[in-house]
Each structure stands twice: as structure tokens, then as C-alpha cells.
């Protein structure tokens, strides 16, 4: 087992604001790691530091066997980066964009690489179309194709599937898994729980701190969260009532059902005791990743947010 990324103590401030605070990341080669966390938690900043677009304030280690951040230029060359916002040229055609990328990376056979990429994307017929006219899903496929054109060893994807339809998302993930099978290491930020579950590992970042890591099962287990589900007519309406009771850390509607969670099993069971009656049926369930993340956010929230 080799680590594609092995970085310690990564930090970045903008002025006095700490966007990323002392993060350590170890990512195995050929693995897909999901990078999760609410907006503004520092995902984009972390990815940018890893690919040399931002200079870290602190942090050192190895990326692709190269010294980080000293050899940032060399790391950059073997890394593919797909930005959060579409950042190819909207006023150039699909083909012109790919040709530009191929030439900038000095690929040996520019036209062949472009043709193959177009073929694989199924965009050969639309090669003369302006990139700006593509739909969100196609833009995302084009951006991914451009990011992997130079055969990088490390692929950094920043919310690649935001605003993309389910079918395109599924195709996208199939492609990512295909690339990982070929040995590419992937770090992908996302807000979708189903996508998090498709990753080999997840890393959860909040307010610049890395607060959970591991496989989805590990993260759920380590949260030591206990969740009960109530079913029955209008069970979801109990959320407000139950949330106020001691021992209930979280009560959230889940469709027509209700999920009630807490880390103290005894207190939680006491809290729901009086609701264990008709017409409600209670069962203990495995907490979802979403339950865990929402709870993590609550636990790690700064004091003033908790008080509010």
C-alpha cells in the first residue's frame, strides 16, 4: 500500500480568517476519497493547496512521492484538477478547448488525444459547438475529460456533480471508478450523501477542521450515535416536540417517518418512552451518514451558534 497523499498540518488563512486549520490527510493510491463538509468549510481551499494553486501557510509531507509543498510545480504536472465552477473557455469550441489543454501539457499526439477524448465523450459530432452552449451535465463531462487528458496520477474534483441530473451523475461516478481502477487517486468534494457512500473513504471538514475520517461505516460507528425511527400517521410532526427533550440531540423528519438521535442511549430511550404508544411504531435503525454529519456539525459548532 502506497500513499498518494500524505500531508500533515495543512493550514491556510485569508487575512485573520483561518479557512483551513491544521488538516492532515492520508490517501491511498487508487482510492476514491470523498471530501465532505458544509459550504465555506474549506474544501476548495484544501484542494487548491494540494494542486499548488494556493500556497499553504503551514503543512508539509508528500504528494505522489514528491515533497509538498516545495515541489508544487512537479506535483501540478501530475495532477488533474476540476474546478468547482466551469473554467474552460466558453467562447471556444469543445475541440478548441481540448486542443488548448493538450498543447499546454505538451501531449505527444495532440490531434489524436483530442479525437480520442471526443470519441469517448461521444462529442465527436458536436466538436464545433461552443463550450458555453453545453448543458450543465455536458460541461461537467467536458471538464472531467480535460482534467484527465494528460493522464494525471492524482485527480482533484471540486463538487463536480453540483446541479447535474441523476443519470449524468451516475455515469460520472462510473467513470471515476473506472479511472480509480486504473490506479488514479481521486479526491472529490461533494454534498451528496449517496456519492459519499460510493467513495472508498470519506473525510469530513467543518470550519477548517477535519472532524471525521474513514469508511462510511467507520464514520457512522465512531459517531456512537443511536437513532430511533418512529413510523405512524404524521410521526414527522413530533420533531419539534421531541427535539426539546433532554437526551434528544437531533430529531428530523425522514419522509413520513421521524429520526430521533442522541449519543446517550439511556437518555434517548427515556426521552421517547412516553411516545412509545399507538399509533407510533419505534425501531432502532442504523444512523445515516446524513444523521452523523448533521450531528457532527452540531457538536463542533462554535459556542455562539449553539446558543442561538
Amino acid at each position: 500500500m502506497t500513499l498518494a497523499i500524505d500531508v500533515e498540518g495543512l493550514s491556510k488563512s485569508f487575512g485573520t480568517f483561518k479557512a483551513v486549520d491544521n488538516i492532515s490527510l492520508q490517501i491511498e493510491q487508487g482510492h476514491i476519497t470523498g471530501f465532505l463538509g458544509p459550504n465555506g468549510s474549506g474544501k476548495t481551499t484544501s484542494l487548491r493547496m494540494l494542486c499548488g494553486l494556493l500556497t499553504p501557510d503551514t503543512g508539509h509531507g508528500q504528494v505522489l512521492g514528491l515533497e509538498f509543498p516545495r515541489e508544487a510545480e512537479a506535483i501540478k504536472r501530475q495532477t488533474g484538477y476540476m474546478t468547482q465552477r466551469f473554467s474552460l473557455y466558453e467562447d471556444l469550441t469543445i475541440e478548441e478547448n481540448l486542443t488548448f489543454i493538450a498543447r499546454v501539457y505538451r501531449l505527444a499526439h495532440v490531434q489524436d488525444s483530442v479525437d480520442q477524448t471526443l470519441e469517448r465523450l461521444g462529442l465527436t459530432k458536436r466538436r464545433k459547438q461552443l463550450a458555453g452552449q453545453l448543458s450543465g451535465g455536458w460541461k461537467q463531462r467536458l471538464a472531467l475529460a480535460a482534467a484527465v487528458m494528460h493522464d494525471p496520477k492524482l485527480l482533484l474534483l471540486d463538487e463536480p456533480t453540483a446541479g447535474v441530473d441523476p443519470q449524468a451523475r451516475r455515469d460520472f461516478w462510473d467513470r471515476i471508478h473506472g479511472l480509480a481502477d486504473e490506479g488514479m487517486t481521486v479526491l472529490v468534494s461533494t454534498h451528496y450523501m449517496d456519492e459519499a457512500e460510493r467513495c472508498h473513504e470519506i473525510a469530513y471538514i467543518f470550519n477548517g477542521h477535519l472532524i471525521a475520517r474513514g469508511t462510511a461505516d467507520q464514520v457512522i460507528a465512531e459517531s456512537r450515535l443511536v437513532t430511533f425511527e418512529a413510523e405512524g400517521p404524521r410521526a414527522d410532526r413530533l420533531a419539534r416536540e421531541l427535539a426539546a427533550r433532554p437526551g434528544v440531540e437531533m430529531a428530523a423528519p425522514f419522509g413520513e417517518a421521524l429520526h430521533v438521535s442522541g449519543t446517550d442511549r439511556a437518555a434517548l430511550e427515556a426521552a421517547i418512552q412516553s411516545y412509545r404508544r399507538e399509533p407510533y411504531r419505534w425501531t432502532e435503525v442504523q444512523p445515516t451518514l446524513e444523521d452523523v454529519f448533521i450531528n457532527l456539525m452540531r457538536v463542533h459548532a462554535p459556542a455562539e451558534v449553539k446558543a442561538a
Binding site: 499548488g52 494556493l54 500556497t55 501540478k76 473554467s87 467562447d91 499546454v104 501539457y105
Partner: protein, 377 residues
């Protein structure tokens, strides 16, 4: 590994050129701005302004002063708006800018014309807008003669001693030097070129930042010099097209002579174009968005127009302003282009200005490359 790559440079160049050709607004800027500005500035500053407001002070009641007054009124250059009663009133009028000219006909005018001892007509001109007054002043000396010839028929005809039975004394106020239209139009070559080029490059670069494509550029192995050369070269072509367009128009529409300093002109233009582009690139490394790039460009345009000797005579400015003007490339380009077109100067005579332009290119391009950030920090 850190070496420069021609093919990467060419990749940027091709990309930039494609974008340039595809953008309709660019055509408007390349062709439209020079034409509109040349016509606007060229004609606005160049045409003989007519019917300029004039005040007269007539201290003589004789027939000749009345006849001069009559022809002044009939002339297309002067429009008598005030008949003053004292020299002090005249002074005030011209000081306030109420009139462009104040014409004084002295008390013994008619008598002295008859006596043939060349009386003086005093013309005070507000020359703060020199181009506006130039031809009117010239017309003054010849204009009243006809009136006099007409009046001197008959018994008094013998009083017409020659071409001018009187003298016109001109006092130019506020700006003793006079700029002719031949100075303005070649000057436009420099100002229009630098305006469009600085703006176009600074916008082309900040557009990358604004649209997020800068992030793509920076995540590739492109080196700063490669980006700079690749991005600027298409605009050199733009600059050459503009320069040719403006000079042709200057020759055809405004009849500006070409005294033959082609070598100095071409070398000067090349340095000036490259310098303007490098300056645009430098602006874009500081500006965070297109609006800021525009504002910074204007910050440069204003002194370029006001302190370069384009509108006002360079040597008429206070020393500190001349010193500022010397930093501006437009100042040196103006000297090259005026010298080449009007005086036909060669490379040797233009060397100081050409040297200054070359120095500007080196310093600004160096700063731009140094300023260009390879990260988003």
C-alpha cells in the same frame, strides 16, 4: 524542467487569437474606436471654428473704424456680442471667458489711416484653446482690408498706401504657443493606440480571472512568460492594424504630410505597441476584475492626454508636470510621430525618444512578469 516551451506559448497564442476573432466587440474596438476618435478629435480640434464671440471697444468715431466694424460683423469668424465702453470692461469679458476676442480700435484710427501712419488695432485672443483661435487670428489681418479698399474709393483712394493701411497687434493670452492641427492628428496615433491596447489587454487578462478560467491556466504547467507572450502577440497584430488605419486616415482625411521619417516611425510604433501591451498586462496583474482594470486604465489615460504634450505644449507646463510627462510613453511616441511625419527625422535624431520607449518596454514587461502570480494567493 523549468524551461520555456514554444509549443505552450503557441497554444496560448492560438487560443487568444481564436477568442479575439470570435468576439464582435473586439472588432468594434479595433476598427471603431480609432475611426470614431479620429473623426471626433480630428475634426473637433481641427476645423476652423467660426462665429467666435467677440467684444469690441471702438474709441474712434471715424468712417474707417465703422467700416472695419461692419466687415467684422459680416465675417464668418467673429460674432460681436459686446460693445464695451472701457478697456477694463474688455479685460473682464475675456477673463471671464465670455468672449474669445477683444478688439480695440484706438481713438485716432481714421485720422491716422488718412495720414498713412499705420494705426494699430489691438486684438486680445483667449488662446487657452489655441486650436480654436488660430485661424480666426490669421483671418483678422486680411479681413478688414477689403472694407478699407471699398471705403478708400473716390477722393480718399490715395490713402490706401499698400496691402495694409494699419497694423494688427495680437496678444495671445493664457497660452502663447500655438498648436496647429498638424500637431493634433499625428498625436492621435499615440493616444488612440495606447488607449485601445492598454484597455484591451488588461480586460483580456482580468476576464480570465473573472470567468474563472485563470484557475485552469494556473493549474497547467504554463509559465508566466509563456502566458504573457502568448496573450500579447495577437494584440501586436491588432496594434499594427490600428496604427496603419490611423496613419492612413490622418494622411487622407486630414492631409497630414509625411516628411519621410519612416524608419523612426515604424520602430517607434513597434516599441510603443509592445510597451502599451505590457502595461495592460501589468494593470491586469493588479486589478481584480474588469471594472478595476478599466479604472486603472483611465488613471493612465488622463495624464497621457494632458501631460504628454498632446493637447498642451509640453514646454509650457510647469517643471513637475514635465517630469511626470517624461515617464509617460505617449510623450515620447508623440515626439517620434510628429518628428517623423512633420519634420522627417531619422533614427539618429529620434534616438532619445526611441531609447525612452525601449526602456519603458523593458521595465514594464519586467515588472509584469514579476507581478504575475502563479498561484491564486
Amino acid at each position: 524542467m523549468m524551461g520555456l516551451s514554444l509549443s505552450r506559448m503557441m497554444a496560448v497564442l492560438t487560443k487568444e487569437f481564436t477568442q479575439l476573432v470570435r468576439d464582435r466587440l473586439t472588432y468594434a474596438m479595433i476598427i471603431g474606436i480609432p475611426i470614431v476618435q479620429l473623426l471626433l478629435f480630428g475634426y473637433a480640434i481641427n476645423t476652423d471654428p467660426k462665429h467666435l464671440p467677440t467684444a469690441v471697444l471702438v474709441q474712434d468715431q471715424g468712417q474707417f473704424s465703422r467700416s472695419i466694424l461692419g466687415s467684422l460683423q459680416n465675417s464668418e469668424y467673429f460674432r460681436i456680442v459686446h460693445v464695451a465702453r472701457s478697456p477694463a470692461e474688455m479685460d473682464k469679458l475675456i477673463e471671464r471667458g465670455a468672449v474669445q476676442f477683444a478688439i480695440t480700435i484706438p481713438g485716432d484710427f481714421t485720422r491716422r489711416v488718412v495720414r498713412r501712419d499705420k494705426p494699430q488695432i489691438l486684438v486680445e485672443a483667449d488662446a487657452s484653446d489655441p486650436a480654436a483661435t488660430g485661424s480666426a487670428v490669421a483671418a483678422l489681418s486680411s479681413l478688414p482690408i477689403e472694407g478699407l479698399k471699398h471705403d478708400l474709393k473716390g477722393p480718399l483712394a490715395s490713402a490706401a498706401p499698400g496691402p495694409q493701411p494699419f497694423e494688427v497687434v495680437i496678444q495671445r493670452r493664457y497660452n502663447p504657443e500655438n498648436i496647429t492641427s498638424y500637431n493634433i492628428v499625428p498625436g492621435l496615433v499615440a493616444t488612440i493606440l495606447t488607449m485601445t491596447l492598454v484597455m484591451m489587454t488588461s480586460l483580456a487578462m482580468t476576464r480570465e480571472t473573472e470567468r474563472g478560467t485563470m484557475e485552469t491556466l494556473l493549474s497547467t504547467p504554463l509559465r508566466p512568460i509563456e502566458v504573457m507572450v502568448g496573450k500579447l502577440t495577437p494584440f501586436v497584430v491588432v496594434g499594427i492594424i490600428q496604427a496603419a488605419l490611423i496613419i492612413s486616415m490622418a494622411r487622407i482625411l486630414f492631409g497630414v504630410p509625411m516628411a519621410g521619417g519612416w524608419a523612426a516611425l515604424i520602430l517607434g510604433l513597434f516599441l510603443f505597441i509592445v510597451g502599451s501591451l505590457a502595461l495592460g498586462f501589468l494593470v491586469s496583474t493588479v486589478a481584480r476584475n474588469q471594472l478595476q482594470a478599466m479604472q486603472m486604465s483611465f488613471f493612465y489615460f488622463l495624464p497621457s492626454i494632458l501631460l504628454s504634450g498632446f493637447l498642451f505644449p509640453f514646454r509650457g507646463m510647469p517643471e513637475w508636470a514635465q517630469w511626470l510627462g517624461t515617464i509617460l510613453p505617449v510623450t515620447h511616441m508623440l515626439r517620434v510621430v510628429r518628428g517623423a511625419m512633420l519634420k522627417g527625422v531619422g533614427l539618429a535624431e529620434a534616438a532619445p525618444s526611441l531609447g525612452a520607449l525601449a526602456l519603458f518596454v523593458v521595465i514594464v514587461a519586467g515588472l509584469a512578469v514579476k507581478q504575475y502570480r502563479t498561484t491564486l494567493d
